[in-house]
């Protein structure tokens, strides 16, 4: 279970959230500027809330009152940002293995074959297409054996054709690896297809929250 109960002030913008996420995939849905990416940054530890708590399976990642603020490298939260940010000075294999944790169950072989990136492993990242970059970034995040995966509009930058090809990979990650996911999108169809739970955001606050068929009708 993921507890997001915090306030984050950023200049004029104020994000306020009080949600408990229990589903496998929670979609954060809303227009740009509604605070979706800010929430992911806060969960990953890249932005500090001004108040409240962020907890993951009972582990406090952030707790303003107890002055707990785990640095990103101790949170075990995988993050695929919108621009994927693959390391440009490493090839695909070194990117994917960068965050590999000792003694973890997932092997490079299994992750690479689920995401079908085996033929890409020895390529330079500049030579990858948009969809390939997305899959490599996903593999890199998965290899760190995260307790939670944050995906920021993974299909926004790819065309319609590619979208229908990447979505099944995301479903395999959800179904075969069992990693809980927070998924940011402003696409209604993606949200419907992928989510167990949807939080609709506007101006930094949740305006609706519930199963996709109720919330997105």
């Amino acid at each position: 279970m993921i507890v997001l109960d915090f306030t984050l002030q950023q200049g004029e913008f104020r994000l306020q959230l009080n949600e408990e996420l229990v589903g496998r995939v929670t979609v954060l849905f809303g227009p740009s500027g509604s605070g979706k990416t800010t929430i992911l940054d806060a969960v990953a530890g890249l932005r500090t809330p001004s108040n409240g708590t962020i907890a993951l399976n009972g582990r406090k990642l952030f707790d303003a009152r107890a002055r707990t603020d785990l640095p990103p490298h101790q949170r075990h939260v995988g993050y695929v940002p919108q621009d994927v940010a693959l390391f440009p000075h490493m090839n695909v294999r070194r990117n994917v293995l960068y965050g590999r944790r000792r003694g973890q169950k997932l092997s490079l072989d299994s992750v690479a074959s689920i995401l079908e990136i085996v033929p890409l492993l020895d390529r330079q990242v500049v030579r990858l297409s948009g969809g390939e970059k997305q899959r490599v970034a996903l593999a890199r995040a998965l290899m760190s054996a995260p307790d939670l995966l944050l995906l920021d509009e993974p299909l926004a930058a790819v065309d319609f054709d590619l979208r229908s090809r990447i979505l099944p990979y995301l479903e395999r990650v959800r179904d075969e690896l069992g990693v809980p996911i927070i998924y940011v999108t402003h696409d209604r169809d993606e949200a419907r297809r992928f989510a167990d739970h949807v939080i609709v955001l506007a101006n930094g606050a949740a305006v609706r929250s519930g199963p996709p068929q109720e919330v997105l009708s």
């Binding site: 990953a44 939260v77 940002p81 390391f87 760190s144």
Partner: protein, 221 residues
């Protein structure tokens, strides 16, 4: 005159100075590029001082600090290390004069590194030191090389501070620029011109290497 002795001595001391620039230079460049702390502007100003101060003035300050009765020289003397008018003074003058160029170049390089890469590395479980050495530093490598070459070239050409703190002792502290000056002053123009040609050769080789390496780094990125 021993051309090869002067040339080798100058190159070796300049290489030593460049090596000595790297640890404090990296730390200073990182502090200035990435940290906000009180006294930051003061530190930045102090680091750049040798660039704008007459080198002879920097040399005199170093002489006062490192002479056997100076505050630093006294401490070093108790452990038996003489600096002034030895090869150590040559390296010291080269290091101090080259450091600002190294720091400024590396700092600009570090500021160019996209922070998103560092953020991603940390979410993948890399502690700050690993992020620095595996992400930040390799991405800033062209700037690091450029900074080292500039620092090295500045060290090879160092004259003013060297003459103050190390003098011009043949076979002990005499570097290429100092020797050129001494020979020209005593009317040995031929010897001086030969050393000028050698200096030009070293400068050309260093710049060529720098351009070659940054072109390669550019291809890879």
């Amino acid at each position: 005159m021993d051309v090869s002795q002067i040339t080798i001595f100058t190159i070796v001391t300049a290489l030593a100075a460049t090596t000595l620039m790297v640890p404090p230079g990296l730390l200073l460049a990182w502090l200035l590029a990435r940290r906000r702390f009180p006294g930051r502007v003061l530190l930045e100003t102090l680091v750049s001082m040798p660039l704008v101060l007459p080198p002879v003035a920097t040399g005199l300050i170093l002489l006062l600090l490192f002479s056997p009765r100076g505050p630093i020289g006294r401490v070093l003397a108790t452990v038996g290390i003489d600096v002034v008018f030895t090869w150590r003074a040559v390296v010291l003058a080269m290091t101090v004069m080259g450091l600002p160029l190294f720091v400024r170049t590396v700092r600009a390089g570090l500021e160019q590194v996209d922070r998103r890469y560092e953020a991603m590395a940390s979410t993948l479980g890399a502690p700050p030191l690993r992020v620095f050495f595996s992400i930040t530093l390799p991405l800033a490598l062209p700037a690091l090389v450029a900074g080292a070459v500039l620092g090295f070239a500045r060290a090879i050409g160092e004259f003013g501070a060297t003459i103050m703190i190390a003098g011009s002792i043949p076979g002990v502290t005499r570097t290429l620029p100092v020797a050129i000056y001494s020979f020209a002053e005593t009317g040995r123009d031929g010897d001086a011109l030969l050393l000028v040609a050698i200096s030009a050769g070293i400068a050309f080789a260093a710049l060529w290497l720098s351009n070659y390496l940054s072109a390669r780094a550019g291809l890879r990125a």
